[in-house]
């Protein structure tokens, strides 16, 4: 009861000034992460990459969840549902359903194949250093796009807490993430991710309980309780409550908030399906997600940790639409003005007169979500460079120390590049992240799928598959960037609709699979030692 703030008061401001309490909470969280990182410092190369394989199933489930849930999950999903209604649910479903693919088709097989990185798998399975090089480049690029979205989220929250300019807060927030990824390494990262999960999930759930309780919805399970809010928005029902400005909590009848592919949202049926599918296969192809299976001791642990991970993820995803619904109904008065969609989660708590301390904790949770993901991404990206490019291709004689040094240099270069691009503010947080998924879905996912389940898939097929995926990626991004800078290319409308950067994988991935099959048939068969490894070690076929 103490957490429920005093009644509404006029003249509140959602933005602008330096906020002391949230600043203290955020600083405390970051210090906690650093302390946990220091207590679990990486020693040696295998520690740096894969944390010594010493984490429990539930623990690595939490690490998977917090590694996974980024600013896009914490802030971005609610933003899309707030703005585009039912279309936003394609993100909710896509980002969870992908784990079924990952578990059923890949998790324990990847663990049994026994490599450290996604690139390692592809390089060895397709016995090609060219493939190894290009997948490493793609892995770095994916981590890069994904991080840009995260830095955007970190920037928004630092701006909200410290009242700084967006640019300044991207630089400050980014530097803090960088510093702490460098000192901790991956053992620190995994332990940290467990702590980060607990912080981010409590930060996200507490205001949900408060909002449903305050406004007399079914608060024991807020994830069910907000259903009536959705119906109230659709019908335009009157409520007896007011927001923190004293505006009545009621919308005009707005079926577009919940009805599927509503014309008012500008998104149609095809876009829903394509986005959902692209996000699902992207999930199963993201290097930093796949990499998590190497930190568990056994294949069975890989399976169970995915299942735990998915459950922990769903705790947040079940709750996210609640913020969109309350955000909608609490900000309906035109006097509130246009809100920055990506911060709607925090604004919703403020508009609902949730205690400022809790709101501060919520903002710190958002930063925490972005932190855990960025550190995982920086490790995935830098290890793709130091392990897969530097050690395997450039300097096979390199010592462990040299590798770790290269990994650290790569981390710094990547973080600086990400900061620069974040300052351009190209798109919404969740959309930037969706781009990374489409790339992963049409390049890495098809290679894993066929690589694991068909021994006939060989180097020629792999190269063809990667070429198709890579071509669509470059093509779609090229059109998008030209569009952003006002250059109209032929067929821009067609490409913008069917091959949009957020979901072009819906067609690119199946084509990559077909290319793999067709060209595998034309090339030299897969060498026997690889087929033997695949059959015996990965699938347990003994003769």
């Amino acid at each position: 009861m103490v957490f429920i703030a005093s009644p509404a008061f006029a003249g509140v401001k959602l933005e602008g000034s330096f906020k002391l309490v949230p600043a203290i909470i955020l600083t405390a969280c970051i210090l906690l992460f650093l302390w946990v990182g220091f207590m679990n410092k990486a020693e040696g190369t295998s520690d740096y990459y894969a944390a010594g394989r010493s984490i429990s199933r539930v623990g690595s489930g939490m690490a998977i969840a917090s590694n996974w849930m980024s600013a896009a999950s914490f802030l971005g999903m609610a933003a899309i549902m707030y703005g585009s209604g039912y279309h936003g649910l394609s993100y909710v479903v896509g980002w969870t359903g992908g784990y079924c693919l990952l578990l059923l088709l890949m998790a324990s097989q990847i663990r049994r194949f026994g490599k450290y990185t996604a690139t390692d798998f592809i390089g060895d399975r397709y016995y090609s250093s060219g493939m190894r090089f290009w997948t490493a480049i793609i892995a770095i690029f994916i981590s890069f796009c994904y991080s840009v979205g995260q830095f955007g989220g970190i920037g928004l929250m630092f701006k909200w807490i410290f009242g700084m300019q967006y640019s300044a807060s991207v630089i400050v927030g980014g530097s803090v993430v960088l510093a702490y990824t460098l000192v901790s390494g991956m053992l620190g990262v995994t332990k940290n991710q467990i702590v980060q999960y607990i912080i981010l999930i409590s930060a996200f759930l507490i205001p949900a309980f408060i909002l449903t309780f305050k406004f007399k919805y079914f608060w024991l399970v807020p994830q069910l309780g907000y259903g009536r809010v959705v119906s109230d928005i659709v019908v335009g029902n009157a409520t007896t409550f007011v927001n923190s400005f004293g505006h009545a909590m009621q919308t005009v009848p707005s079926p577009e908030f919940a009805m599927p592919w509503d014309t008012a949202t500008g998104k149609d049926f095809f876009q829903w399906m394509a986005t959902c599918f692209a996000l699902m296969i992207g999930t199963a192809g993201l290097p930093h997600v796949i990499q998590k299976f190497y930190v568990v001791p056994k294949p069975a642990d890989a399976r169970w940790s995915v299942t735990w991970g998915l459950f922990f993820i769903c705790l947040l995803y079940w709750t996210s639409p609640l913020y969109a619904a309350f955000g909608k109904i609490l900000s309906s008065n035109p006097e509130v003005g246009a809100l920055s969609k990506d911060a709607i989660v925090v604004y919703t708590a403020q508009l609902g007169s949730v205690n400022p301390i809790i709101v501060g904790f919520l903002a710190a949770g958002a930063v925490s979500a972005a932190f855990s993901t960025v550190s995982g991404l920086l490790v995935a990206g830098s290890s793709a460079f130091s392990n897969d490019i530097y050690f395997k291709i450039i300097n096979p004689e390199a010592t462990g120390d040299q590798q770790v040094r290269m990994a650290k240099i790569a981390t710094i270069v990547m973080a600086l590049g990400v900061m620069l691009v974040s300052l351009l503010k190209l798109a919404l947080v969740a959309q930037l992240v969706a781009l990374a998924f489409s790339i992963a879905g049409c390049t890495i996912f098809p290679l894993f799928l066929l690589g694991i389940w068909w021994s006939g898939s060989n180097r020629s097929g792999g190269i063809a598959s990667l070429t198709v995926g890579g071509f669509f990626t470059v093509f779609s991004i090229f059109y998008f960037i030209c569009g952003k800078f006002g250059v109209v290319l032929p067929g821009a409308a067609f490409v913008g609709y069917w091959l949009n950067p957020w979901y072009f994988a819906w067609i690119a991935a199946p084509l990559a699979v077909i290319a793999n099959i067709v060209f595998s048939g034309m090339g030299e068969p897969t060498p026997e030692h690889i087929r033997k490894h695949l059959a015996e070690e990965v699938h347990g076929i003994r003769r």
Binding site: L89, V92, V93, T96, G97, C100, L101, L103, L104, L105, R112, L224, G225, G227, R228, V229, V230, S231, V234, A238, A248, Q250, T251, V252, P253, P255, E256, M259, P260, D262, T263, A264, F269, W272, C276, A300, W304, T307, L310, C314, P321, S332, P334, E335, G337, W453, W454, S455, G456, P525, E528, R531, K532, L534, E536, H539, G540, I541, R542, R543
Partner: protein
């Protein structure tokens, strides 16, 4: 060519009893996953009928009368309410001057003579300050107890000149079609736990189903491992 190679692995041709059972579990899991996710959305798409909001249904009858000046006062009130409901849907619509002109013109037309000047004054003031007294408009439109509609009124006003009123405009039709027609069916109109059913299904149930698929699969594989005594040699 395939047959001549040893160590073949093929998703569609499992070569050991373990793989056979493993692949059956995977296939069933994927079928449920695919049908539940995409099958339901396709069903939603098949069942849907474009459904027009009541206020717009009424408006479509009134619009021609507004154009030729034969609309009654009740009809003008109904039309103004429709404009207001549309303006309240999004911040972007509040920038649509044609729509605001139609609203303000209609209200001007239906108000009694002495209130007309008050409206013009309010519209002028509202351009710079939303704290404007619009109670007489709320009363005239019969929205005294609808706070969502009342909140929009100050933002819906725009300066009009009494000799050039435009109570309706052909340009409004596409905007209204876009915002007032929704894809509905019994799947969206049935309320379960307070939710429109399709929303509950997609936002909550599907996620729970995903967790369940994973859980069942984990148990299934663990028991397969025991059955074929592969736990030690394989895991």
């Amino acid at each position: 060519m395939e047959e001549s190679l040893s160590y073949e692995v093929n998703f569609f041709k499992p070569s050991t009893p373990f793989l056979k059972e493993n692949l059956r579990a995977i296939t069933i899991g994927l079928l449920i996953w695919g049908l539940a996710t995409y099958g339901f959305q396709i069903l939603l798409k098949i069942m849907e009928t474009p459904t027009t909001e009541a206020t717009y249904v009424a408006y479509q009858q009134i619009a021609p009368k507004l154009a030729d000046g034969t609309a009654s006062d009740e009809e003008k009130v109904a039309a103004a309410n429709t404009y207001l409901a549309l303006l309240g849907k999004s911040g972007a619509l509040l920038k649509n001057d044609t729509l605001k002109t139609a609203f303000t013109s209609t209200v001007y037309d239906l108000l009694p003579g002495d209130s007309k000047d008050a409206l013009l004054a309010a519209a002028t003031k509202a351009a710079s300050d939303s704290k404007v007294d619009v109670e007489f408009i709320n009363t005239a439109l019969g929205i005294g107890d609808n706070s969502a509609m009342k909140a929009v009124v100050p933002f819906a006003l725009i300066e009009v000149s009494p000799d050039k009123l435009a109570m309706t405009d052909a340009a409004l039709e596409p905007v209204m079609d876009k915002f007032f027609i929704h894809n509905q069916s019994f799947l969206t109109d049935t309320i379960v736990f307070g939710f429109p059913f399709h929303y509950l299904y997609t936002a909550l149930f599907l996620l729970a189903l995903f967790v369940l698929i994973c859980l069942v699969y984990c148990y299934k594989i663990d028991s397969l491992m025991k059955k074929y005594e592969m736990e030690k040699s394989f895991e």
